[in-house]
């Protein structure tokens, strides 16, 4: 309390400057006073309508019930709306749209490739992944491509098929696609498996289930300008870690970088920031990504979020990936713990960085 009182001694010019910077219109809410003749007069402060006025009471009662009914209708409408989007975009046609959108983000001469040979090579561990860039962007439908286009300026549409859910079938299709890929092709969109979003669902900060599934579209970027554009992007922000690699490994990667960019959309759009904890390819060819997401707790609006993870590694060193899996740790903001824990997480991640890091935070709206 002493500290709080001592705040009063802050320089008055700073206090006034803050007041003006905040708009200078702080005021108590106005309450409308209903008079017995039915006319309404706007007053400020706490002058409430006389409780003894039965007409005013009736009006308030009717108004109250109307408000309750309106709320119920809104909640039902929101429920129907979100339910209809809960599996977004899992239908084949939607998935095709997503794939095509992702393709639009890939610029010529960016090459996207999943080496055919790598699909049959023994799968290694995740040692070749050095870094994770993670972005979270609130994007209205149709806007996402323009955001991505800022990063990768040229658009190249590709005619790709949808992402089947059967991973074995996906492997075959992917391999076939990769085998047919010619080095002269500027863009080749690989077939990709659906991303399985999983969560252990535990922890005191968990308040809701993670959305069941989302569609992932991995794209391999070999073009250095494209990689740098992604790494330099600050809006939305990028978090990068070295993945505890030695300098020699890092140098090798930087000398010949390649990036696996995965972007997916989530129907739950409350995330305001996120970061990677771990990324590795296990012996079964599954790329596991452990990420933490931070949510404000309130739905922001009805636009889906687009998340991107960029994994940087030495060209050709990525083991075959036949499936991606995401494990989300979901931080709901609370006054005490949410921010603190999130902050510790991101700052410890920042210690790993990372010659590329350009900042972190959240997308300003």
């Amino acid at each position: 309390m002493d500290l709080l009182r001592a705040m009063s001694r802050i320089d008055p010019c700073d206090i006034e400057a803050a007041y003006r910077a905040a708009g200078g219109d702080m005021a108590v809410p106005h309450i409308r006073l209903y008079r017995t003749d039915g006319a309404a007069e706007s007053i400020s402060g706490t002058q409430l309508p006389p409780l003894s006025d039965p007409a005013a009471g009736r009006r308030y009662a009717v108004g109250g019930w109307a408000a309750v009914a309106a709320c119920i209708v809104l909640i039902l409408a929101a429920g129907i709306f979100f339910r209809s989007r809960a599996d977004f975009p899992v239908t084949p046609s939607d998935a095709g749209t997503v794939t095509q959108n992702a393709a639009l983000t890939t610029a010529s001469p960016v090459q996207t490739q999943m080496p055919a040979g790598s699909m049959t090579e023994p799968v290694q561990g995740g040692d070749d992944l050095i870094t994770g860039g993670f972005t979270a962007a609130e994007t209205a439908p149709g806007v996402q491509t323009s955001t991505a286009a800022e990063t990768l300026p040229e658009e190249t549409g590709t005619d790709t098929t949808t992402a089947p859910e059967d991973t074995d079938a996906v492997s075959e299709v992917t391999t076939a696609a990769a085998e047919s890929a010619s080095p002269s092709e500027s863009v080749q969109q690989p077939e990709v498996p659906a991303l399985a979003a999983t969560s252990d669902g535990s922890g005191s900060l968990f308040s809701e289930q993670i959305p069941a599934a989302a569609q992932a579209v991995p794209v391999v970027i070999t073009d250095q300008a494209g990689i740098r554009a992604f790494l330099n992007r600050t809006e939305p922000p990028v978090i990068l870690g070295t993945g505890h690699k030695s300098e020699a490994v890092r140098d090798a990667i930087l000398a010949d970088p390649e990036m696996l960019l995965i972007r997916w959309m989530m129907p739950d759009h409350r995330f305001s920031a996120a970061g990677i904890q771990r990324a590795e390819v296990t012996a079964d060819g599954v790329l596991h990504i452990a990420a933490a997401m931070y949510a404000d707790g309130d739905p922001a609006d009805d636009a889906p979020y687009v998340f991107e993870i960029g994994l940087l590694y030495q060209a050709g060193a990525l083991p075959a990936v036949r499936k991606t899996e995401l494990k989300l740790e979901y931080f709901i903001e609370t006054e005490e713990t949410g921010l603190l824990r999130y902050s510790e997480f991101t700052e410890s991640l920042a210690e790993d960085v990372c010659i590329y890091a350009t900042g972190f935070g959240e997308k300003d709206n």
């Binding site: 709080l4 001592a6 009063s8 008055p12 206090i15 803050a18 921010l339």
Partner: protein, 195 residues
Amino acid sequence: MAEAFREEAFRVEDAQILALYFARDENALAETEQKYRGLCCSTGRQILGNIQDAEECWNDVLLKAWNSIPPEKPCYFAAYLVTLMRNTALTLYEKLHAAKRGGAQTALILEELENCLPAPDDVEAQVDEAETGEMIRRFVKTLSEDARNIFILRYVYMMPVREIAERYRMGISKVKVSLHRSRAALRVYLEGEQL
């Protein structure tokens, strides 16, 4: 340019109101009420959690202003009134809190600030409010403009984080990160000053 013009108009208005105080014209109170009631009651409401108590404090603030001007002639009238309001409301808060009634933002803010003092339990380390205030005044000058404004809105105007975020058109978590860093910096600063 427009900003400078608004600021000048703001100052002229305040000077006219202060002139009324010096003339002992009771219209001074009406003008103060008209211009600053919203601001001060908003601050008081954030401290006390309800508008009724804030109104009570506001009446006290008007009386204090009437009694103290003159001889005082505040250069920043808004800040002067907000400071009077804060102190009055915090006193009332303590009184109410003792009676197990709480305010909305105050408990949260007290919790946020509890780790800022290096050794709150060390009796020898306790210094008077004036000295702490002076240190905070200097500390605030070291913050960037945005961080300073956010810090002041939160801890002087007691504005909820969500409202600050809305006013600055930034995310809530960004505001919280800014406050978190400012508090950490304050703690380091106070330690450096051997508080």
